[in-house]
Symmetry: C2
């Protein structure tokens, strides 16, 4: 029997997605669920949904940077302000789409860590290659594969899929048809998986 | 010695503020903190901060109504979709500004319960009067007091104060100068009060 799936639409540019990525594996393990990582382009999702990045509201942007620091301390995980924000995650996400399902989870987490724990500019191909290499993957070959139509089409399709399912921000999770938006919804996902939120 | 204060900027029109109001008293009791209730007009805050209500993004609006139901089940509290949304909370908030500090907490909670647990149209003066009467207050006298310049000025001043402190949504809490936005930040507030989020 397949375990319950938690579909995780992610973009490493999002700090709350990084924060959630530090917690979701333990949550899934506790619940006996598996995580299905789904790369998407958050900028395209914002555009399609008529949404905008939080920092578009100046007071919200100022709060966000305090808030993510508090969450990082709450979780006990590292957090560094990236040198470039928001970084263009197009190459990172196309590489993600060139990976196998077995390779994707570690790469996704490593890209978010590179950006939000190490402050690296993940828009740069050499940074993406170095992250892939650090995982024992062939970064140069993946960078080439990321330029092939298959990877480009897959990223476009996943982004469209997210929008068509009602995604308007990141991180977004699905358990079956139930959507959960935000790092701060992890306790709800855990309750939901345990059957505690049934009507 | 005064206990630590949790300042709570609230507007009963906000579902997440209702949800937070069902939990904040127990949280404050556990932390040995006191709650300072601060009525504000969320619509004015949105306007001043360049923010907009969540439902302005259609996909976010659809998610919101699912999400608040999940939170209500998570907390085990009642939730009903109001007949009128968003309701104009001007009268309710002016009455709140005509109350003593001792009367305010119960009235604030009762207004949120009337709107989000009973679905009443709290924009109507007779609803506000009935809620006040149900608490043993003189609803008719309070409705008159709410039209006096003192109540109007106080509500305007509290809303301006919120904006000047960086508030852009509801619920918003302050512990000293540290701001917390959202029902979903209650676990952070509890950690913060326990000294667990210090740098």
């Amino acid at each position: 029997m397949n375990p319950t799936a938690i579909e995780f639409y992610y973009d490493p540019v999002s700090p709350y997605t990084y924060l959630a990525s530090t917690q979701i594996k333990a949550l899934a393990a506790r619940a006996g669920a598996e995580i299905v990582w789904k790369p998407m382009l958050l900028g395209k999702v914002f555009e399609a949904a008529g949404n905008r990045m939080p920092a578009a509201v100046p007071a919200k942007g100022r709060y966000l940077f305090q808030d993510i620091k508090l969450w990082a301390r709450h979780y006990g995980v590292p957090l560094t302000m990236p040198t470039v924000f928001p970084a263009n995650s197009l190459i990172a996400q196309r590489v993600a789409c060139a990976l196998s399902a077995a390779q994707l989870p570690d790469f996704a987490c490593a890209m978010m860590k590179a950006y939000w724990a190490e402050g690296l500019d993940i828009s740069q191909p050499e940074v993406v290659v170095a992250v892939a290499n650090s995982l024992g993957l062939d970064g140069a070959a993946l960078l080439a594969a990321a330029q092939a139509p298959e990877a480009k089409d897959k990223l476009r399709a996943l982004t469209d899929e997210a929008v068509s399912r009602g995604v308007f921000g990141a991180p977004t999770f699905f358990v079956g048809t139930q959507m959960f938006w935000g790092n701060d919804r992890l306790p709800l996902i855990e309750d939901y998986l345990a059957g505690k939120l049934a009507t």
